[in-house]
């Protein structure tokens, strides 16, 4: 019987985060579950749009036929070999970045934490660049480990840089440290790529963040890492809830503080590393989605994390589809789309009176 235990822990957490209404919590939970289902439905719709729409216009029946009776025509090949892997990639990358951002914001208690802004994705990108450009490793399941290494290194470095000095860590210091580190990583990456024009040409779009150009095989090699990161991250909702009021309060609620922090770090590394290896360093997905989600569902991580995981791919894929349509016959990379959408939102957040409020 888990229900008694669950009620006890849940009660403690509600006390800790000050959220949740005692009596109506069952009704609220039903609403939130319904919301999750709606988000999942949106995800399916966006995924269908992503398969059906693109630089080449096709009738709806052609798209259906590509799955039911594939005849090897060029339209069917485009759908099966390009659009479906691209859509799946967008789903995976969106989910991982959304969850990674939510985890980072929760762990650092910093509303501006974002895998791209804090340089973690750039660190992972440097790892991938090293593996591909210098060592010539082309197996995604191998070079993803370089991405993990770069992401972990960047996360630790940015944390150390930001918490330096007497004032301690603040959203602004963390953001500046992340941007500074990210610029160094990017400079090194592009220096490496410049030495090797062939690799540069292949990775130019990847370096600005793009869902195009990856094969189904790459996705299959990276999917297990994404899956492990997602499961681990989602399981951390309860201890992170308890840490929301501070390490001491968390300890008093029976959470192993250091273990939670380390596990969260591992999850973030896995998520950011795998996402960056697949789609390049993307900004703002992990920043804005959890913000929007918190505004809707409140501060309880048991809802924030799954909502972020489901909502981020909706927005990422949506931006990708729009990017394909607005510049036909070319396309705008999803990294550029997200910077254009994300930067104004970020500036709006920065203009708020209390940046530190989470």
């Amino acid at each position: 019987m888990r229900s008694a235990e669950e009620a006890a822990v849940g009660g403690a957490e509600r006390g800790a985060v000050g959220g949740g209404a005692g009596g109506g919590s069952r009704g609220r939970a039903a609403v939130l579950v319904a919301g999750l289902l709606v988000t999942a439905g949106l995800l399916v719709l966006v995924a269908m749009a992503s398969v059906a729409l693109g630089a080449r216009s096709m009738s709806f029946s052609t798209v259906i036929d590509a799955f039911l009776v594939p005849n090897g025509s060029s339209d069917h090949t485009v759908i099966r070999e390009l659009r479906v892997p691209r859509t799946l990639l967008g789903l995976g990358v969106g989910a991982t970045l959304g969850l990674a951002g939510a985890l980072m914001q929760s762990l650092t208690r910093n509303p501006l934490a974002d895998p791209g802004l804090l340089g973690v994705n750039e660190g992972a990108a440097l790892g991938v660049t090293l593996a591909l450009g210098l060592f010539g490793l082309s197996d995604p399941a191998v070079y993803v480990w370089f991405a993990f290494g770069g992401a972990a290194l960047a996360a630790m470095a940015v944390h150390t840089l930001a918490s330096s000095g007497r004032a301690g860590s603040s959203p602004v210091r963390l953001a500046l440290a992340g941007v500074a580190l990210g610029m160094v990583f990017t400079a090194v990456s592009s220096a490496i790529l410049r030495m090797d024009p062939q690799t540069f040409d292949r990775m130019r779009f990847w370096l600005t963040g793009s869902l195009a150009g990856q094969t189904a095989d790459t996705l299959a090699r990276l999917a297990p890492f994404m899956a492990v990161g997602l499961v681990l991250g989602l399981l951390l909702a309860r201890p992170l809830n308890a840490l929301a009021l501070g390490d001491e309060a968390g300890q008093a609620l029976g959470v192993a503080v250091n273990r939670t922090r380390i596990l969260t770090g591992v999850a973030v590394t896995l998520l950011c590393g795998a996402a960056t290896a697949a789609a390049g360093p993307l900004w703002f997905v992990g920043l804005i989605v959890p913000h929007a989600v918190r505004a809707l569902v409140g501060p309880d991580q048991r809802w924030v994390l799954p909502y972020s995981t489901l909502a981020a791919p909706v927005l990422l894929l949506g931006a990708d589809v729009v990017g394909r349509l607005i510049a036909r016959p070319g396309e705008v990379q999803v990294g550029i789309m997200w910077a254009v959408i994300g930067a104004p939102v970020f500036i709006m957040l920065a203009r708020r009176r209390r940046v530190a409020a989470l």
Partner: protein, 335 residues
């Protein structure tokens, strides 16, 4: 130590004075090395003669026409970046505050790329960079303004604008034809190769006008570092001082970028290295200018000679400087 001349007096710190003299000496050594070495070595006495117009025609061509403009441009650009960085580090009260991170350099790049794509001449590219930098600065300032401009809000808004402009830049590069993209790509790394006197003169003029302006607000800026309220209580018009300082810092960064392309990290590292060297409590403009000049000329010399005959763009070297500087910060904080 206070020096009094008639009604004026200047406070001098001996340590800072010695450090600055040391920087000047280093600058001389690096400049002479850059003037004399290369594919064709010019002995030092010949350089002196060439500078005074009495050398052999060959030495004069190489020194006065080819190498001297490059060295002088590097020196002036470095100084401009150094002062600009010092201003923004003081304004943001953060050793990582730098025009590179808050959009100004990216804005200058956007202006430069637009000029390249439009088929502009070198002068037009420089003008585009300057215009881009100033428009970006206005945008950041306006967006960060909310009953005054707080340092932290300037930083955050700047980071947002920076991200946006970086995306715009890469979009422009992917849209440009391959030749323009290559030209713009080379310019974007920051380089001093092929710089003539027409690159050096605008930077020199800008420094001549803007440095006195910076010197005038240097002291009130030190007060503002202690907090807006404290500064106000000492009779300082905080927003006015800040506006002057931002204007000067932006113009310096813009002019420097126009001359050499977006050379990153000099503005970040120079003020802090100068501060360590002079052991002053805050960033100082004069020492930062000297340190910036030394850093950039030395980096350019290294870029030319390290892998000779392959010429690296100086931006690669300054990125390495930036990385080393961050690593030093990290090491210091771990203790």
């Amino acid at each position: 130590m206070t020096v009094r001349v008639g009604p004026w007096s200047v406070r001098l710190a001996p340590r800072a004075l010695i450090a600055c003299l040391g920087l000047v000496a280093a600058l001389c050594v690096v400049s002479v090395a850059a003037l004399s070495t290369g594919e064709f070595t010019v002995p030092v006495p010949d350089i002196v003669r060439a500078v005074f117009g009495q050398g052999t025609p060959v030495a004069e061509l190489i020194v006065s026409r080819l190498r001297a403009p490059r060295v002088v441009t590097g020196l002036l650009v470095g100084a401009a970046f150094g002062v600009s960085g010092a201003i923004f580090q003081s304004l943001t009260r953060n050793p990582l505050g730098s025009p590179d991170f808050i959009g100004f350099t990216a804005g200058a790049s956007t202006g430069g790329i637009v000029a390249v794509v439009a088929g502009g001449t070198a002068t037009q590219i420089a003008g585009g960079a300057l215009a881009g930098c100033m428009v970006t600065a206005l945008l950041v300032y306006a967006l960060a303004f909310r009953r005054g401009v707080q340092g932290y809000r300037l930083v955050l808004v700047g980071i947002g604008v920076n991200a946006l402009l970086v995306a715009v830049n890469s979009y422009l590069l992917t849209r440009a034809n391959i030749n323009d993209a290559a030209t713009a790509g080379a310019w974007l790394t920051g380089s001093l190769s092929g710089r003539g006197w027409d690159h050096a003169v605008p930077v020199a003029l800008a420094l001549a006008v803007l440095l006195p302006m910076c010197a005038a607000v240097a002291r009130p800026m030190r007060m503002i570092e202690m907090g807006d309220d404290a500064a106000r209580s000492m009779g300082i018009r905080v927003e006015a001082v800040r506006a002057v300082a931002i204007t000067a810092g932006v113009l310096l960064a813009g002019v420097a970028t126009a001359a050499a392309g977006p050379v990153v990290f000099v503005a970040l590292a120079a003020p802090q290295l100068a501060r360590r060297l002079t052991r002053s409590p805050g960033v100082t403009l004069g020492a930062s200018a000297l340190m910036g000049a030394v850093l950039l000329t030395a980096a350019d010399l290294a870029a030319q000679r390290l892998l000779a005959p392959t010429q690296l763009p100086v931006g690669v070297l300054t990125a390495a400087i930036g990385g080393t500087y961050l690593a030093l910060l990290l090491r210091k904080e771990r203790r």
